[in-house]
Amino acid sequence: MSADAGRTGLGEAAPARGGAPLDPPGFSLSPAWRRRLSTLVWGVVSVGLFAGIWEGLWALGYADPLLLPPPHLFLADIPGTLQFFDRSNRVGSVATGGGVGALLITMAWTTMRVVVGLALGFACGVAVGATIHYVKFLRNLLLPTILLLAPISPVAWLPVAIFVFGIGDVPAIFLVFITVFFAIVLSTGAQIESVPKNYIHVARIMGASQRQTFWKVILPAILPSLFMTLRLNLFAAWMVVLIAETVGVGTGLGQITSMARSTFNAKLVFFTMAIIGLLGFLSDFALRQVQRRMLWWIAPNQGGAR
């Protein structure tokens, strides 16, 4: 652990020392801002290069603008594209040409389904995982079924979700829920098992009750790894919600993509893809921020309990 501390110390000091001589006089950024700026610059370069190659292929005539319209084409026609978005969250409603507002509303609905599904899946997963870890009878009763259901792809649950919940938000939320639920249930048990014995000993010596030990020691010890599990399943959740929206909801970004495919609207396809990519990126960023605030004792990207 002390080696760890040494490494962080060096990591912070090195860029400051390396960068100092290059600074123009009178202009200096704190290392944190410099790191952020460099991340941003590389982000722009990376995306720019990707878009540039695409544009180049179009300019050379390799990319058919009807099938693979390059960014400047599908972004230029935003007003035309936006008319396919709808303000209401009604199934099968004809696009009302809602503009930016409609786009934001559609994005918000899809995001809501992901967030609610993830939050429910996480909370229920920890609760069920801890319960079956501690109550032997329930473990014997439920674990075989959970092990059987866990490997089933969430997409395979879609028909079931529609049979049970009908068309609407619930099947989409349910699918996102399934995406994280089993992973969290199984990882909760494993993580509780691997909480260092000394932590438990300390709690017992200090006179903590079982309940206090769980809330004050075990839960904080396992949260970082569980949160990592959640983050790993975030992109799967975005995948699943789009499929659910295509089939089981009839609204949202997934429905737009599906409509764009069936009406052969390549501009709309790529525009929606860009939006979905952006939302996925932002939600991962948001989760990282939550991790930084709430799980401050763990360095970002480091999931294991220590």
């Binding site: 760890d4 000993h201 709690a203 017992r204 010596i205 200090m206 004050k216």
Partner: protein
Amino acid sequence: MTRPAVSIQSVSKRWTPEGRAPVQALSDLTFDVAPGEFIVLLGPSGCGKSTLLYMIAGLEEVSGGRIACDGEPVTEPSAERGLIFQEASLFPWLTIADNVAFGLSVQHVQPVRRREIAVEMLKRVGLGDMLDKKPDELSGGMRQRAACARALAMRPKVLMMDEPFAALDVQTRARMQDFLLQIWRDSGASILLVTHSIDEAISLADRVVVFTARPGRVKTIVPIDLPRPRESRDPRYHAYRDMFAELLADEVDRAFAEQEAV
């Protein structure tokens, strides 16, 4: 005679791990610890020293015999019997001050009072300016001192330490020993400290309990009749060192012979 702080009578411990042969860790162990006494436990690896501390702490049950603290039989853990582990077991999600106050928070002491006690304890162990640091930001020696502060905050009558300085370098270790003697005098607690270092035993102990190889028994109990601070140049110190080296060599030989026989 006053009542012993810890009384260990014919204690034995047999581990019965699932799916493996049972292990007789300790057998027929008897000795007393006087109030305020500094006891060092010395013995070959695997002879059950840690096991004994866990049983005194109430974390493990005895297989036979009786352990009593202040006349009361030990049945469950209690904050009166603090235990400090080889690696500091500070919680990484709490600041140093909150770690020290953990036991108090479990016992529903008011937050303001908690903080006061934590600050006072951390000052006593020389970490007054580390209150709001994370455990990760401290060196190994500092972390062990914080663990001491956490145990002391509960005002224990018995403080047990399982090789607390084994992971530290030689210089830090010497400083920590001085620090420990000071804590011991201030708090008036009895201390039971496990070590593999003969020098550590001679520098610290009132009495050294030497264990036999497994199954651990008391081989002999040696009072250290040297005034503190103890000088390693003192010829009597050398005599103790030779004596312990010989006592331990016998037992280590036996332990190895046994392992080869298996």
